[in-house]
Symmetry: C2
Subunit: 199 residues, 2 copies
């Protein structure tokens, strides 16, 4: 016999379907929800439905957007000739925090992963090729993660882009700022050496 | 400039208010939500509002219930003369999993915590005293967590209950100090129940 009312079990089920949340964490979240004022939970439910219904992919960069074209793609101050390709919307946020990049983005919404059964057609590769094929793009910066799947995805897309006559670059590999040489892994050190530059 | 649409930021805010979820986890959850079919998110929102609106405190044991009195308190097979006092609804679930306890429960919805500014009036102590005061209860088992606040709460309530002429017992210290009832295994919980002693 379950000791939770059906409505509670049902909500636990929903929370437990979220990534990284097990049943015990889900139960904790549900008990928090039950302890909150009804209006706050109505707002939460409204935000959930509202975000899902109002947010779509930007027609240009594929990032989440409330309009057809996101504010960043509409921003004339950004250099439309440079497109930085990232795996996820959160990577756009990370690059924007650096305040160093003034070009535009393309969000793949994933990386190619044979193990995860995610192929090129499951991420926004076709949209990138169409966009670059229209002309006006001089450089595409591949900014997927420097891990196995990110590397493979970058190499795959680079091969498709080269015939279109654009420069394809990759974010530099090296030691992260503030890190310690002593603790760097061999591959990172080898890449940092290979990529050394005149001081 | 934020790179997420307002509806996304708003939903991140809501998720980030849940206990144990920071902004980065919240963003991950939101991106998962955006990737799901609209119907699934509508169901989630419905479950959220539904649970919050339909679930109240059981008039007898104060545990979450969809009716005025929860199924466990209505169950005539349970011994109404024995009341086990726990801090949270999840602790009822934990004790039920041990299949050792056949009495009823009382859920405090918290423990007395001077640091957290939670006093006896902020948890369901008054309701327990009223319930025991009505008679018919022979033994109250204090089953709060064996940590500082759980111990203090058990001792405080025991002192209020003794004048009412009931036996007040405490779960045996088969439970390791500083641990949490929720994570105890069934055998440990069963031993702790069997070894309870007068307080």
């Amino acid at each position: 016999m379950s000791t939770f009312p059906p409505a509670v079990e049902n909500l636990i089920d929903h929370f437990a379907r979220l990534p990284g949340i097990g049943r015990k964490s889900a139960a904790r979240l549900v008990f928090y929800v039950l302890s909150q004022p009804i209006e706050k939970i109505d707002d939460f439910a409204g935000a959930l439905v509202g975000a899902r219904r109002s947010v779509r992919s930007c027609a240009v960069c594929q990032n989440w957007s409330e309009g057809d074209v996101c504010p960043l793609c509409q921003d004339v101050a950004r250099d439309a000739a440079t497109v930085c390709v990232v795996a996820e919307p959160r990577d756009v946020a990370a690059l924007e925090r650096s305040r160093e990049y003034k070009g535009q983005y393309h969000v793949l919404h994933g990386v190619i992963s044979p193990l995860g059964q995610i192929g090129p057609d499951d991420i926004r590769v076709k949209e990138l090729l169409t966009r670059v094929g229209k002309g006006g793009v001089g450089e595409v910066i591949m900014a997927t993660n420097p891990d196995t799947e990110g590397e493979a995805t970058a190499l795959y897309i680079a091969r498709l882009l080269r015939p279109l006559g654009v420069a394809v670059t990759r974010l530099a590999y090296g030691l992260p700022m503030g890190s310690h040489l002593e603790y760097a892994d061999e591959v990172t050190l080898a890449r940092a050496l290979a990529g050394r530059r005149a001081l």
